[in-house]
Symmetry: C2
Subunit: 468 residues, 2 copies
């Protein structure tokens, strides 16, 4: 008869221990399929436990598919399915295969205030406050929306109420809700070059879109006027990847355009305005516009860490009312633990300190990178387009290499490199030879090495320059 | 001249301290709009700091919109916008207004393993592992999908690979992705009564749906055949709110129906199959179906805590390949911190222990509730529909009150109560007088009081019964 030492069960209840012992033997095959178990009574006597104990263990084993019963003839071991294949995509969690990733736009782990975050998270959890487990309002926790409203007032000069804010699991998620809010019968204008992913998102929601070219002042509003688009997505504070800050004139034109028709709206993507190093910030379109036609979008993926999926949007009051009536049935998609933690992080001033730390770090990163570039022969064959915002530079290369060839050589050298043409609808000569350098994730000690590797790509151009 | 005691700055750098002092005075109004600040040099001499320190502080104040410059005439205080209104929706984070909530289907905080969770979360964060900050694969962390695959094998007898699993921020989120995967030219069949929210979700994605009535065996497959629906949403393990477990015959018919046409699919919502107290579990449709037509859905909101937004779906291989090609551009919507924590929680066996604890608790809750009901005069005017799964009961009341009247009286007594008709497309007499009792969130000590309050609703029926 099967035998288990009930004294080995530690803190476990008898029936749970028995349940686990038998299950282990079924899994290991020690108890083969269709093996008949002893009757409850006899096993109870054998193990010197109560019949109820065995009864409970057996019924749990039955309810979890380890045992089956035949009427009045006892309990038998079920056939188990094959174990699941676990061999696929084994490399998935491995680190990036690149030595230097100029494409990934993320900060290094060392900058994330892990200890503070953990402490706050622990405090939040240990409060044992029932509110923690309450279902979160559709638009996110009030305390977090309040903290964000305060932050927007302090740092972006925006006066919004917590009731206008919707918190969601990432910007893409919020774009999806927005497209649903507007419905499919709209045409989205996307900057070219620009955030091409918005085209994928629009497609997946059955919404049409149109690319509108950029010039040095930002999106070309005259081209916009001649398009069918009625909703525009722009990043006026720091356009990626061009680094262009939209000119005041262009902003005024955009706002005027939006005001002309009731179905026109602007989506302002302010994704990394926090990381402004110097110079006077232009106000947000949201606060410049008096007709309530601007939806403001921002994320903590850039300022905190990408793996923290918390973004938010600010809707003008009329749109917010529409959102409430149409989409508030959707539950909030962000864990309340992390919402409470972030709310504390912001309202206790940690976020501000963190941002200032990031700014100092990135400013230094940029200076080091520019210095290394200046000292390198690369300087002779490229011009650097600087900007006072964000964590990337554009190198205009004076090269004979095609963008494809540049990327091929880069990846041979262990560099992950994107070119301006990657962000264009149609790669054109006008955008050729422009390398996008995200320096955020490069270790300061390694910058000169990274630049030397960039040199190797353009060796021929450098030699040509020397010989001339 | 403005004066600050630089010795008060603690660990702060001089320029940051100066920046914060001046900002505070601007916010307080001590430095009014258009006030002209001292020149860098003079303030530097006055405070006995370097000019660079003042320069840095001023440029930060400019870049954050506190100061503006006039060429060669110095730095001036900006006009600040009004502080944001914070007064709206003040009650939002308050606890439920009800004494007893029979509608909310959530467990009590006391059952959530807060300490274990916090400890694991702390361990995950303190690993300081760069992988923590890596962008998560579109379908979720491999370690979590691996843990889930193992769990499904152990407890649901399902043999799936981690590569078939997609993790998302809540079931609603995953339903949205599914609807996008299938595209708008499908018709969803929704059980009636049943999960009406799926109709809202379908509407928001522009997909048509049709309600298919239930009978005691589950969804009526003959009605399904005569509908235009090609995708069916069902909860075979425990239908909410009827508590019906789908019969083997009905399952076979459903699977056959799905196999007949290439565009037919079944969505199996297994939301609370973990909470089975006794009796033999029927296998999942997913594992019964050989034609790979079943999408399996499950969530941790029910088994862990609703405010933890982690759900997952298992796709048949062909659909998974389609998902990869069409929707993998969407980033994963769940924080990697919580994904790692949950993966640890499952793979170290805490999840199993937690589930067993929940089962014991809910089984006891149910016994207590049934005992209190049996001892109450209510027993004379209602019949209880029991089930071996889940955390709710259906009371079939022998009453003269309308459902609306029952709910009105309930809320007067501080009870949050839903009726079967609330989950029906069209309230019919066949579904009248059926009260849905979610006992999960009721404090065991309070059960008899809760039952006494239920009595008061049906006092007239009870007296009538006595007098007859």
């Amino acid at each position: 008869m099967i035998t288990y030492d009930m004294n080995m069960r530690g803190g476990m209840s008898k029936y749970e221990y028995l349940f686990q012992c038998i299950r282990r033997d079924i899994q290991s095959g020690a108890l083969p399929p269709d093996f008949r178990l002893p009757s409850k009574r006899s096993l109870a006597e054998h193990l010197m436990v109560s019949v109820t104990t065995v009864e409970n263990a057996y019924s749990m084993l039955v309810s979890e598919g380890y045992l089956y019963t035949k009427q009045s003839s006892g309990f038998f071991v079920c056939r188990r399915p094959l174990p699941p294949p676990q061999a696929d995509e084994p490399e998935e969690e491995e680190a990036s295969p690149y030595r230097f990733d100029f494409k990934a736009n993320r900060c290094s782990l060392s900058l994330f205030p892990m200890n503070t975050w953990t402490r706050l998270m622990r405090q939040v959890l240990s409060r044992q406050d029932p509110v923690l487990l309450q279902t979160v309002p559709f638009n996110g926790l009030y305390v977090l929306r309040q903290a964000i409203a305060g932050y927007l007032y302090e740092y972006r000069g925006m006066s919004v109420s917590p009731g206008q804010i919707v918190i969601g699991a990432g910007t893409e998620y919020l774009y999806g809700r927005l497209l649903q809010l507007f419905g499919p019968h709209n045409v989205i204008a996307i900057e070219d070059p620009g955030y091409k992913k918005f085209a994928d998102i629009s497609l997946s929601y059955g919404t049409l879109w149109d690319y509108i070219p950029m010039d040095s002042e930002g999106i070309q509003t005259d081209r916009l006027k001649n398009s069918r688009a009625n909703i525009v997505h722009v990043s006026p504070a720091n356009h990626f990847p061009t680094g262009i800050v939209m000119s005041p004139g262009r902003r005024a034109q955009l706002i005027e355009w939006a005001g002309e028709l009731s179905d026109r709206y602007l989506i302002e993507d302010d994704y990394d305005s926090e990381l402004r190093f110097a110079g006077q910030p232009l106000p947000t379109l949201f606060s410049q516009d008096s007709r309530r036609k601007v939806i403001y979008m921002n994320t903590f993926s850039k300022s905190m860490v990408p793996s923290l999926r918390i973004s938010y949007m600010v809707l003008p009051q009329p749109l917010m009312e529409l959102y409430r009536s149409r989409l508030s049935f959707y539950s909030c998609s962000v864990s309340s633990f992390e919402q409470y933690t972030l709310a504390e992080f912001i309202s206790r001033g940690y976020f501000e300190r963190h941002i200032n730390r990031l700014k100092r770090h990135y400013r230094r990163q940029k200076e080091l990178f520019l210095a290394a570039l200046g000292a390198s022969p690369l300087a002779g064959v490229c011009s650097v387009q600087k900007s006072q915002v964000g964590t990337h530079l554009v190198l205009h290369m004076n090269t004979r290499l095609s963008d494809a060839e540049i990327k091929r050589r880069a990846s041979e050298l262990g560099l992950h490199l994107a070119m301006m043409s990657d962000y264009c609808r149609v790669p054109s000569l006008a955008h050729a030879g422009q390398a996008i350098i995200n320096f955020a994730s490069i270790d300061p000690e390694q910058i000169s090495l990274a630049v030397r590797l960039l040199e190797d790509i353009f060796r021929a151009d450098i030699d040509l320059k020397k010989s001339s």
